[in-house]
Amino acid sequence: MVDETILREKAREVLARDDVRRLIGWKRGTYGYESAPAVLKDASQADELIFDPTCVQNPASFITLEEKLPVPRGQDPDTRKVAVLVKGCDSRAVVQQLVEKAYTRDGVIVLGVPCTGVVDRRKAQKMFGDTSEPVMIKEEGDKFVFIIDGETREGPRAELLADKCVRCRFPNPLVYDELVADEVAVWGADEFADVDEFEKMSPPEKWKFWEEQFSKCIRCYSCRNVCPMCYCLECVVTKQKPQWTRRSTDVSENTAYHIQRAWHLSGRCIECGECERVCPVDIPITTLNRKMTRDVKELFSYEPGVDVEAEPLLSCYNPQDPEEYIM
């Protein structure tokens, strides 16, 4: 269990340092089951921080989201460190960002938050309904206890956990400077049963499934923007010269967009599940990513975001790589 007092204390210390620019964590949301990513710049703000089962967001996304303003002539750029609180899954994003040289290891301070799983807002909404007041959630054994509009409600942990948490293999951060709580036991395992199940469909059935899903897409690019690995200055998807994908929203362009997104995350996706969570039209985006994750593992014995020293999957090769379909 994470003691928020300790978490805040550690954050306060870090924020008080002269060489730290900002700290990214979580804070209470304004309504319902929401929490909000918190970007703090001053030690006095540390008390805003929380960590509870609402803290689903991946703070590592916000390291690479930061846009740097032009530095006025004669001034030095702000090269102070960024501190970030990460759950186990979030830490894989930090690892992969390091592999991809998004920043250097000494450019970040990582405060690790061992995590026992977060609540899927959609599942909670289905179980308990909505409210305009912030909901408090605590984990108690195999239950989650909610305080909704002053009323205490309970729900089974197994039914409320986010999907990514059900199969979580990395509840403890893989990279950190300091842990804010004791490590927790691993409970999850991932056999990719969902991928196997999906693959039972024939190609036309799969296409039909995705056609329906992609037809919903409004191309808001929230799935791309929230992804901690997607931080190209100019994304091929929105590039004008050349125009790989057209901005028009129709099922062909939307499908192309989603294939492009999934392709670019092949061997890079760290399974934080944020893309699917943020989708306003409920496209099961991780179904694509998980297929790639499984195949990358099976074909190349590769898992992104677990080893800072690893070579990027598609920038290396093994002369013995599989090639069974190659003529």
């Binding site: 032009p70 530095v71 991809e100 040289k101 200055l233 100019e234 590039k239 050349p242 920038s315 290396c316």
Partner: protein
């Protein structure tokens, strides 16, 4: 130029009837003229001819064309031709696009209508790409006026001498202790019967003494980097354990070696013996001794007799040095000639001929040593000598077998080795010469006597009483188990008389073929060469660029490119030398213009391209992005070969190979992707 509106000229070639007989050329021209940006569309019988090229030049000059499409043969054939045409007309050569309507259309499709439709599409795709072509700048780099020659057989020697004689520096690297290669092992050469050593030795000496040649024997190239005009090579000079500056080549060391006469001599094809400290052969160049570290007791066991190494003891010059270590030498050169030669086919891979089993079944190369005046038997074809090299008998019934390991799919060698027919004829002649009474039979599939004086020589040998039996022996075995009886049975069907024969012989010479060096892979990796199906190095073009490789500045000479006889080898070596000299003498060379470049404002500095680049041409450098310092990729254009692997690895498309940019390929896809 590039900022102007595209004004495209499309030229559709009939190629005589090669294209025109299948593709409706006028229809393609008409279609082309309807395409956007096309100002002129014409047809011509032979676009590559002078009048054809002049047509293009005229149009560029008079109509202000700024893009040219030639729909004809493969760009691999005539892209350089037409680039030159554009250049001569004052247009940037990279404004050329070719549509391959011959090799990939008229020659492969039977249906005229379909082929015509496809040709139209190919032209349309070329127009789509032409609209977005860019002018590229051909850059020049200085050429270091020197050449590195790998291998010092006759090919390497000749090439090195030619370049050195032209007044330029040559580094010759030879793996073995002496120059000379296979040619030095041969007795006489066909068809003129010149003594091989007599004609080779002077050249060997020249290569060692030439003021412009730095000879490194017993050395190997360890690493090569760089690009045409500017190669850097690291050469490992293996320790000889003999100080060459002190060694006088007197040979006392070898006489005193405890293993003297007990180690099979590679030069004598293991028929003769040598010491652990040795000179490969008497005329070896340099005449400096070398210690075989694997055989030398001192080096391999750490101890040589009770009194210590006898060779060191015997050497009055004090040249033996067991502490000597390998030495790494870095050199810079502008060009490289690969002349690594061949291996002879390993006769053990044809067990039916029992070469491994019987001492009187020998290979052609063993025969050379056996009949060489400087060989272990002093030129007498003695068989069955004892361990000390004493005794033995002279054969009476000699058989020669053609095509051992050549033209033989069962051993994976489909090709003809080109020299066996003639060397066997020569060897038959030598036997006739040495043993006038002997019965000589040659078993052949075909006799290929195609060279100058070959047929005449073959005819002469037959007239000398050598019997030619057309048949490919299926088996060679011993007549009986008696160790004193050397009779072998050659089982063969005479295909001219359809008679099954079991002929008796007491000596069988196998006409083993030529194969790529067993360690060819190392050379390939080192110099980025490619192989043809036969395993020999592939030339840039089988007809027109037979000494060039796909890597600029690296040339091939001799049998490493394919089996050939001595005159052909020498000719090719001279060709390679001439090619290298063109670069060296001009002092400048154009480097690849179609290289990658980075749009740094789109680069996120992840380094995927850096890791992918096989040539180490990309690095991450600091960039000041409006006051913020970021890492971005930067291409070293002299190292980049334009393969474009970086572009496929880049997520944002920030790095692109010129002429093959995403925005140049996507329009082609847009045209060709549409089903018609």
């Amino acid at each position: 130029m590039s900022s102007r509106r595209p004004k495209i000229g499309v030229y559709v070639c009939h190629c005589g009837i090669n294209i025109g007989s299948v593709v409706d050329v006028p229809a393609v021209v008409e279609y082309a003229s309807s395409l956007p940006g096309v100002a002129i569309a014409r047809e011509y019988t032979y676009m590559c001819s002078d009048p054809g090229q002049n047509l293009v030049k005229e149009d560029i000059k008079t109509s202000g064309l700024n893009r040219v499409i030639v729909a004809s043969c493969s760009p691999r054939m005539h892209e350089p031709t037409f680039r030159k045409t554009l250049k001569e007309a004052g247009l940037n050569p990279y404004f050329l696009e070719m549509a391959n309507i011959r090799e990939q259309c008229s020659w492969v499709h039977e249906d005229h209508a379909e082929a015509t439709e496809k040709a139209k599409k190919l032209v349309e795709a070329a127009v789509a790409k032409a609209l977005v072509l860019e002018a590229l700048e051909e850059k020049e780099v200085d050429v270091i006026p020197s050449c590195l020659v790998i291998g010092a057989g006759i090919a390497g020697i000749q090439a090195a001498l030619d370049i050195a004689d032209a007044g330029f520096k040559v580094y010759v690297v030879e793996k073995t202790p002496s120059v000379g290669g296979h040619m030095s092992q041969l007795d006489k050469t066909f068809p003129t019967l010149d003594c091989s050593a007599c004609i080779l030795t002077p050249k060997m000496v020249d290569v060692a003494n030439h003021p412009n040649i730095e000879l490194m024997t017993y050395s190997q190239v360890e690493a090569v980097e760089g690009y045409v005009g500017n190669f850097k090579a690291t050469i490992r000079k293996k320790a000889r354990y003999v100080d060459v500056s002190k060694c006088t080549g007197c040979g006392v060391c070898a006489e005193n070696c405890r293993l003297a006469g007990r180690i099979p001599s590679e030069f004598d094809e293991n028929i003769g013996m040598r010491s652990a400290i040795y000179l490969p052969f008497p005329q070896a160049v340099p005449a400096k001794y070398t210690i075989d570290p694997e055989r030398c007791l001192q080096l391999s066991k750490g101890k040589c007799g009770k009194e210590g190494p006898a060779c060191a003891e015997a050497c009055t010059a004090g040249a033996v040095n067991f502490e000597q270590e390998d030495e790494l030498v870095d050199i810079e050169c502008g060009t490289i000639i690969v002349a690594t030669g061949y291996d002879v086919f390993d006769a053990a891979r044809k067990p039916e001929y029992a070469w491994s089993d019987y001492a009187n079944v020998i290979t052609g190369l063993e025969f050379e040593r056996l009949v060489s005046a400087s060989g272990p038997t002093g030129g007498k074809p003695l068989l069955g000598r004892d361990k000390k090299g004493e005794g033995g008998y002279l054969p009476q019934k000699v058989a020669f077998i053609h095509c051992v390991g050549s033209r033989d799919k069962s051993v994976g060698n489909e090709y003809c080795s080109r020299v066996c027919c003639m060397y066997l004829a020569k060897q038959a002649h030598l036997i006739r010469d040495k043993l006038p009474e002997a019965d000589i039979t040659v078993y052949y599939m075909d006799v290929r006597a195609f060279g100058k004086g070959f047929e005449e020589f073959y005819d002469r040998v037959r007239r000398e009483g050598v019997r030619y039996v057309r048949g490919n022996p299926s088996e060679v075995f011993k007549k009986n188990a008696d160790p004193e009886d050397h009779t072998l049975i050659v089982k063969v069907e005479d295909t001219l008389t359809a008679q099954a024969l079991e002929a008796e012989h007491d000596m069988v010479v196998l006409g083993v073929g030529l194969e790529p060096r067993h360690d060819v892979r190392e050379i390939i990796d080192l110099f980025k060469l490619s192989q043809s199906t036969d395993g020999f190095f592939m030339e840039a073009h089988p007809k027109l660029r037979p000494v060039d490789t796909a890597s600029d500045g690296i040339f091939l000479a001799g049998c490493c490119q394919g089996p050939k006889d001595i005159p052909d080898t020498v000719a090719q070596a001279k060709g390679a030398a001439s090619s290298a000299l063109i670069l060296i003498a001009s002092g400048k060379v154009n480097v690849e213009a179609q290289v990658s470049f980075v749009t740094s404002s789109e680069c996120r500095g992840c380094g995927f391209c850096v890791e992918v680049c096989p040539f180490g041409a990309i690095e991450l450098v600091d960039e000041n992005r409006m006051g913020n310092i970021v890492k971005v990729a930067l291409v070293n254009e002299a190292l980049c070969k334009g393969c474009g692997s970086c572009a496929a690895a880049c997520l944002s498309g920030a790095i692109q190979p010129r002429s093959f940019k995403d925005e140049q390929i996507l329009p082609q896809i847009a045209v060709l992707g549409v089903r018609t």
